[in-house]
Point group: C2
Chain length 313, copies 2
Amino acid sequence: MSERIAVVGLGLIGGSLSLRLSGSNDVVGYDADPGTRDLARAAGIAVTDGLAAAVDGASIVFVAVPLSALSTVVGQVTAAATEGAVVTDVGSVKSPLYAAVRAARLGVRYVGGHPMAGTERSGFAASDPGLYDGAAWVLCLEPDTDLSAWLRLATILTGIGARVVPSTAADHDAAVARVSHVPHLLAAALAAAAAEAGALSLTLAAGSFRDGTRVAATAPELPTAMCRANHDAVSTALGDVVGRLMTAQDDFGPLIANGHAARLAWYNRQARPAEIPIGGHMLPDRLLDLGRHGGWLEQVGPETLSTMTPEPV
Amino acid sequence: MSERIAVVGLGLIGGSLSLRLSGSNDVVGYDADPGTRDLARAAGIAVTDGLAAAVDGASIVFVAVPLSALSTVVGQVTAAATEGAVVTDVGSVKSPLYAAVRAARLGVRYVGGHPMAGTERSGFAASDPGLYDGAAWVLCLEPDTDLSAWLRLATILTGIGARVVPSTAADHDAAVARVSHVPHLLAAALAAAAAEAGALSLTLAAGSFRDGTRVAATAPELPTAMCRANHDAVSTALGDVVGRLMTAQDDFGPLIANGHAARLAWYNRQARPAEIPIGGHMLPDRLLDLGRHGGWLEQVGPETLSTMTPEPV
């Protein structure tokens, strides 16, 4: 089967994906920025000068543009795409786009996606074909998701080394609020408070400050768009963290002990393999159950899905 | 001048210091743990089996034991030390020990110190003679501090590549609350909240969570002792950070923008060289002024101090 894969948006995420897929697939890329297109061509990627030319004839389209442009570009992509094409995206908040796609009743098979593999760098120049090795890549599975489209994407993504995590948009958004969006806010508050406290503080800032503020080096448009788009879940998660900090004022010991135990348990988490038959009963429910337990797909075989499930912490 | 330097406590901090000083100085080390003594001896450090034997005859004593043992061990050291010896420590909170030393009217010249060079690892096995290259090392300068003792320590520490930052105990404690102690609390709250949120969150945790929780991997006794010993300054700094987070609930954009600007300004901070004559007027005031502006000593010459002062951010 020689199917074409289009990647729209060739920044860090789309660029890394294109580099990784290009070797063994028919991949066509596009980016709105001519300079980025030149960089991608120089790296050996087939790049078109228009979005429609990239999307036309592709059976799979990855939309890897910034969150603020996502719904517009998904609209353009679906207008240009072949009927029945599988369209996915890499946006870091899933519910708003899912709602928009449902409302628009697009003539494509849309599956929301999100690779957990950003860095504080951005742009094609930061691309790395190994970016997704062992990285979690959420693929959303909703009641109206086309299961064969979902499995086709899962096949491609496990094929490039990603751990495909089945989830609903709502569960995804609540989880990333805690492990991705709130960390950006904590880093920002830490950096801003230290800077206002004066020059001595900044001179004494060492490892714990450097690590605790690292994500604040990210171009601020990106976390701002994420946090705004995921406002309710971020507020809930931030309220939880703030509540823990305020309680700790009475005695810092229990919070530090709990945090230490949680960090070690996360870092040392082990996972066990299992198989799910593709033709089995209630496959979507089994997949979502896997994701809720923190599990993921390692491989999509002809008849079974190879999965890993972490031990409870 | 062949003076002996004693290092009491051979964990990460004292071990790294001993390794770095041993080449060109007469260094004697001691640790309460026999296994640590064996490790240090195997690494070529002269180690005694008793504290008094290490301290006796030393003109400089570094006390590098955990904060919880610090005041006890400083008491033992001063009892065993030669009259007039310079005793310093590496504790991460300075005011309580300074108050205790003043109250005890010890027969030694005490100067509080604190190298900003920990990692999440600990113990002699983690020691690294390059740990202090370019690291800030606070030396406290109070109205009753012996200036020649202070300058002697500054000579040794700039000699091993550290940036010697003059500060009072109170200013130090306020600064490290912001850039070292509060980061531990934020990391703990982030890790604890994510763990309770469930397995999916932990599977989606990637770079921003890993970096934001890294210091929570530290053995919890250390940050707990620091935060408790520095309770008031930590509470103030934590209140500032929490206030910023709560204000951000209305709109996350300004906090993220401020944090980004602060992180970049810190990371890109440039410093300018200057000289301070040692025999000049009001040397302690000039040194404290240097420290309050974020400056440090690079070198102690026979007549002048070579300093660096960062540009305001």
